[in-house]
Amino acid sequence: MEYYLKIGGVIMSVKLIKNAVGRMVPTQINGEEAIPFMGIGMFVPKNRKYNSKIPTNANYPADGNKKGKDLKDALVKAGLANGMRISTHHHFRNGDLLANKIFDIAHELGVKDLIWFPSASFPCHEHLIPYLEDGTISRIEGSMNGPLGKFCSEGKMKGIAILRSHGGRYQAIQDGEVHIDIAVIGAACADSFGNANGLAGNSASGLLGFALADSQFADKVIVATDNMIAFPCVPWQIQGNFVDFTVEMDQIGIPEEIVSGTTQITKSPDRLFIAELTAKFCEEAGIIKDGFSFQAGAGGTSLAISEFFGKIMKEKGIKARFARGGSNKYLVQMLEEGLVEYILDGQTFDLEGVRSMRENANHVWTSPFTSYNYHSKGNFAGMVDVAILGATEVDVNFNANVVTHSDGYLLHGIGGWQNCLFSKTVILPIPLFRNRIPVVRDEVTTICGPGELIDVIVTERGIAINPLRKDLLEKLKGSCLPIKSIEELKKEAEAICGVMDELVLSDEIVAAIKWVDGTIIDVVRKVL
């Protein structure tokens, strides 16, 4: 099907193809080839991995001091120019000052058409909207939360946004699908050579794992810190040998916003109810057993689930071999109480997590390469017994959405969500409806994860098991838990909320959602 795609006001002809989950997706995005999703495990890359140019010590100071005057100086020396792709990471979450500063400088220098390639963005990056409007930034390739997502959804961004999972981002960089011109890595602690970590200092964020690929593959790498210490900065989560320039700044992050966010157990009785049902389900399904492993996020409901897990584990005298983090004070407590032997951490959500990572050898830092990269020789995701994830919508085929709301607005990032779908059992604890909008739908607005990888939906009004999981259906036969079909749940939601009018969106594509292997699983269309 030939399709006319509007990009930056220019109408282009692009071919659309129906992919393996039935979505019409373009074969070209931002002028580059795009491969439609072929099904899980069906796309096998044939190329060799990308690599950056070989550097030489002759071009770097012999005393190892790569410290520049300031960030502007470093960016200029790194060759900042029109059309470049600039990467940042999101460990500072909503307390990030660095990404905003980079584009302030680019704007000041009159540089245009930059592509921002963050590992995620947050509401604090609303600051960048004027730069998207004036052409300093042409597009964002990365998960967008809140205001930037809204801006994109309304068709105001010049190029098409591309959203990837954490593992997918590593894969894209490593495969050469994405070329980073300049990576700017904010580190709470660094030396002038470029060794860096996020463990100490005012901007402590714990881990810097999301910046690993950027440090390894970008043409130029700048490490910026507000806590420059004498060489050596250990442990070196980022190795100075990958770094071109270092910069000391007054402040790179706002501490209370770095550790803030969804790090408290929910007080909502309804969400606690869902959390308790989820834990009971895992107990009855035999998932919570000695030596098991789990991943729960940092949201209020996820934290409550971990706590219910802990209660069950204590009662039964069992412990988990490892838990995948997002670490936080609750998971750290489980580690320190001996309920969990190891935390394999991807990002650190609070200061207790940072402390534990600093002090406890069993609190291990991981990167999207070790844990999530799909184009690698295996990863941790498939070893996890149960992953508890969120979703904005789920459909009757168990396909799920995490990026758009039902009204079509792109308001959330993917994070490691797609990667975690490879866990042995994937459970989505979700309310049956939010603000009168049923969460269980005939068809999700945007497919981010194919239904065959999603095993269980836990809502406050019932639990639906994917018919593909005959083992779980068998185990839960005769259970007192409210096991229902997903169609029953949908019907129940509609009986309460009413049947919604069909959403009408523009044909114009504003964002593409990549699957973990780099293929296009779905697109986001402009909201009318």
Binding site: P269, D270, L272, F273, S406, D407, R434, N435, R436, I437, E460, R461, I496, C497, G498, M500, D501, L503
Partner: protein, 408 residues
């Protein structure tokens, strides 16, 4: 009849979009209906919300008005209640805009229903009603009294009425707490015809108050041709009420339970309420005694610290030991703690099994005297233990056929 320039308003909606919806209606002399909707769910429900509102306006013969709705995803029954309440501030009408009863809401209650827990929900806060039933309280109280601001009391009546018809409470006993005095009697017209199971009468001090409520209920029942029982639960909240406890408890055959409200009672005594409850022991015991004398359930006050489950559990155990058979709760998290601690424990069940088994064995041998070991057991003791077992069976703690494998 329409008058220009009058404005009616109803609902909750703050600047952050929290609440349910806020409706205003301004009558006009001409121009027809001007409908302005701001809604979080407009793209999906905008048309149906407008259609619903237009049908309500037409029902009340409103032909010219500016109707503005700010909606954060309220269910249709809530929007309808808000609009009807606003309309009736500017249009005189005796008509009621009623949705059909949700079939799930037509169940009955009975006199001996468990009333371990009864969850209070403010009558003007419909979003709290949405999931209340899934937490499985024995009863849900839609409160028209203290939990509703004076300025919102009238509009709360429409929400409560519509909730009784349209909100599924998943089997919980459907209760409403009315206001005191004349206003409370007027509340009854909004609830009696709509399958309310039980009415709570606050700050009850005399039999006369029960009589007035009963008379009014009887009038409404006759008017709407209703024959089923509506149970009553007076709440004792004053020193005078405590002194008249038995008179109140035995005032009507429809009284199935009586509660004590300790916040007001301690205020009436001029003392601080404590966790130990020493200051209200006399009042509570008098209420418990009156209830048991009148053969109705004795229900304790709410426990107000919703964050302290341990203290709640201790409070329930104390309450149970005094003879109470239930208590109020103000947060769904309290429900399971209340149920667990009012339920018979293992020792109580074992003791009851032993005595009741001995009773059945004696009965099968034609004996009228029950002995357990070397002790003789009086009939009232047997009766009490039968109640314990009945409770355990009904709560699913004990199988109905427990005697089939009982080894005494």
């Amino acid at each position: 009849m329409e008058l220009g320039g009058q404005i009616g308003t109803a609902g909750n909606f703050d600047a952050n979009g929290k609440g349910d919806c806020f409706v205003s209606i301004e009558l006009k002399q001409s121009e027809g209906i001007i409908f302005k909707l701001e809604s979080k769910v407009k793209v999906f429900y905008g048309k149906s919300i407008e259609a619903l509102c237009r049908s309500i306006l037409s029902f009340f013969s409103v032909e010219n008005a500016l109707v503005v709705i700010n909606d954060s995803g309220a269910l249709p029954y809530v929007i309808a209640a808000r609009l009807e309440s606003a309309i009736k501030q500017v249009v005189s009408s005796n008509k009621d805009f009623l949705f059909d009863f949700l079939p799930d809401n037509l169940y009955k209650s009975n006199k001996d229903q468990f009333r371990f827990s009864r969850l209070y929900l403010p009558g003007n806060t419909p979003y709290m009603m949405l999931n209340a039933g899934i937490h499985k309280p024995n009863g849900i109280i839609l409160d028209l009294e203290d939990a509703v601001a004076v300025s919102k009391k009238n509009e709360a009546r429409y929400i409560v009425r519509n909730a009784l018809r349209s909100q599924n409470f998943y089997g919980a006993e459907r209760m409403v707490r009315i206001n005191q005095g004349q206003f409370g009697l007027e509340d009854l017209t909004f609830i009696v015809p709509h399958n309310v199971h039980l009415i709570l009468i606050p700050k009850c001090e005399s039999r006369a108050e029960i009589d007035r409520v009963e008379e009014e209920i009887a009038k409404i029942k006759q008017k709407v041709n209703l024959i089923r029982d509506i149970f009553l639960m007076p709440i004792i909240e004053t020193a005078l009420g405590v002194e008249n406890a038995y008179e109140i408890a035995s005032a009507s055959r429809n009284i199935v339970a009586m509660a004590i409200g300790l916040e007001d009672y301690t205020a009436d005594l001029g003392v601080q309420r404590t966790n130990s409850g020493a200051e209200s022991l006399y009042g509570r015991m008098r209420v418990v005694n009156a209830c048991h004398a009148a053969k109705i359930q004795a229900i304790d006050s709410v426990f107000s610290d919703v964050g302290d489950m341990q203290a709640l559990a201790e409070n329930v155990k104390r309450s149970k030991s005094l003879g109470f058979q239930g208590m109020g709760c103000i947060h769904p998290r309290q429900i399971s703690v209340i149920h667990e601690n009012f339920a018979p424990n293992c020792d109580e069940i074992e003791r009851a099994k032993k005595i009741v088994n001995a009773f059945y064995e004696a009965e099968s041998m034609g004996l009228s005297v029950v002995s357990v070991g070397t002790k003789m057991v009086d009939p009232p003791v047997v009766k009490r233990q039968l109640k314990v077992l009945e409770l355990a069976i009904n709560l699913g703690i004990l199988p109905k056929d427990w005697r089939s494998d009982y080894v005494g």
